[in-house]
């Protein structure tokens, strides 16, 4: 089971700002271990964020994104107390979903 994400969601005027920190190795597939063997690529491929069931962000990521990635974005229409759900899926098929309440 992957480690939980840290999600912050706050209303600022018309906008809701979402900040998500994910725990992931994000192996590029370019590195080799001490024995000279290639370390297989392992990275988050899809990220989806929904607000009240409506998709507000959908992203496709590749191996160039950093270890323990951080994403911040804004959308309109959020209100205090609403739920935001963040899901990622990596190229091994592992998934993690966390939710946060807009503050």
């Amino acid at each position: 089971m992957p480690d939980p994400m840290k999600i912050r969601a706050n209303v600022a005027g018309d906008w809701t700002e979402i900040k998500v920190l994910m725990s992931h190795e994000m192996e590029t597939g370019q590195r080799k271990d001490a024995a000279g063997k290639v370390i297989p690529a392992w990275f988050i491929q899809n990220v989806a964020v929904t607000h009240n069931g409506r998709t507000v962000l959908s992203a496709q990521w590749g191996p160039a994104v950093a270890k323990n990635p951080f994403i911040a974005f804004k959308f309109k229409g959020g209100a205090k107390g609403d739920k935001v759900v963040v899901t990622w899926q990596d190229n091994r098929g592992e998934k993690r979903t966390d939710e946060a309440t807009i503050g």
């Binding site: 480690d3 994104v65 950093a66 270890k67 323990n68 990635p69 951080f70 911040a72």
Partner: protein, 271 residues
């Protein structure tokens, strides 16, 4: 893992494109400061803090006990502000201890781990070799954020540790005839492009001590003060500093005490 941290933020990207080439030392320092500021929001150290809090509250070890009864100096289970008062004398252990040795002591006394088990992975290396201690240190130290450093030298053993640490700081040795003070005793010293703090000044000692532990972007790991000292010793070509040794605690005591009065501001983020 190399420093491949990408911040998906239009503003950050625009700022990066607008940055002129940095030629002088001054502007390089400014750029590194900007880089740190850009990473501050979304410091992955928070992931270690969350994992550490989980480890603190989960029953583990042969005795299936949590660490919630662990006395970090302010009474059993009190985490808030504990890091700002460490190292200190612990009568139950008969020793001056820093946070990491105290955590090991609690894991042995409360959870029933052997000392070898508790110290087998002090420094993490990726997903396959996560360090529980680094996570616990992240959690405990985060509970002292904003608390002024207040390390006591009231007891004779604490004074002895401070004096020993001071002596070590100025002790020259190794193949390079280096002491800590060789690099950290003057303003304006650097290793490659990294400015080194002058730990003999109050301002330098405060700034340095209150920003460890820290997430090291270039390593993708959260590093503790024991790691910091261990790596300084490696760079000095000193014999390896034994994890949790009296020597490591004495040096920590000297540096922590010199930071007294400054608000603690870690886990931080560093290049």
């Amino acid at each position: 893992m190399s420093a491949r941290r990408v911040i998906l933020r239009c503003a950050a990207l625009a700022a990066a494109l607008a940055v002129p080439l940095a030629f002088g030392q001054g502007s390089t320092v400014d750029e590194i400061a900007k880089y740190r500021a850009a990473l501050q929001d979304g410091n992955p150290a928070e992931l270690w803090e969350a994992r550490g809090e989980g480890l603190w509250k989960t029953p583990r070890g042969p005795k299936a006990a949590t660490l919630e009864k662990c006395d970090l100096g302010r009474g059993p289970g009190i985490v808030k502000g504990a890091y700002a008062e460490l190292p200190r004398w612990f009568a139950d252990a008969g020793r001056v201890m820093d946070l990491e040795t105290r955590l090991v002591w609690c894991m042995v006394a409360l959870q029933g781990f052997t000392e070898a088990d508790a110290t087998k992975a002090p420094f993490g290396a990726g997903n396959d070799k996560k360090s529980d201690i680094e996570a616990l240190v992240a959690y405990v130290s985060s509970e002292s954020r904003g608390v002024p450093m207040n390390v006591s030298l009231a007891g004779p053993k604490e004074q002895e540790a401070y004096r020993l640490g001071q002596k070590m700081f100025y002790f020259r040795g190794g193949t390079h005839d280096f002491s800590c003070a060789t690099c950290h005793g003057e303003d304006g010293k650097r290793i490659r492009l990294q400015d080194l703090p002058n730990l003999t000044t109050t301002a330098g000692a405060r700034k340095a001590y209150t920003t460890w532990p820290a997430y090291r972007v270039s390593q993708g790991e959260l590093r503790t003060f024991q790691w910091r000292l261990n790596d300084c010793f490696r760079q000095q070509r000193f014999p390896e500093l034994i994890y949790g040794s009296d020597a490591s605690i004495a040096l920590t005591m000297f540096l922590a005490r010199n930071a007294n009065g400054a608000p603690f501001d870690a886990p931080a983020i560093k290049r």
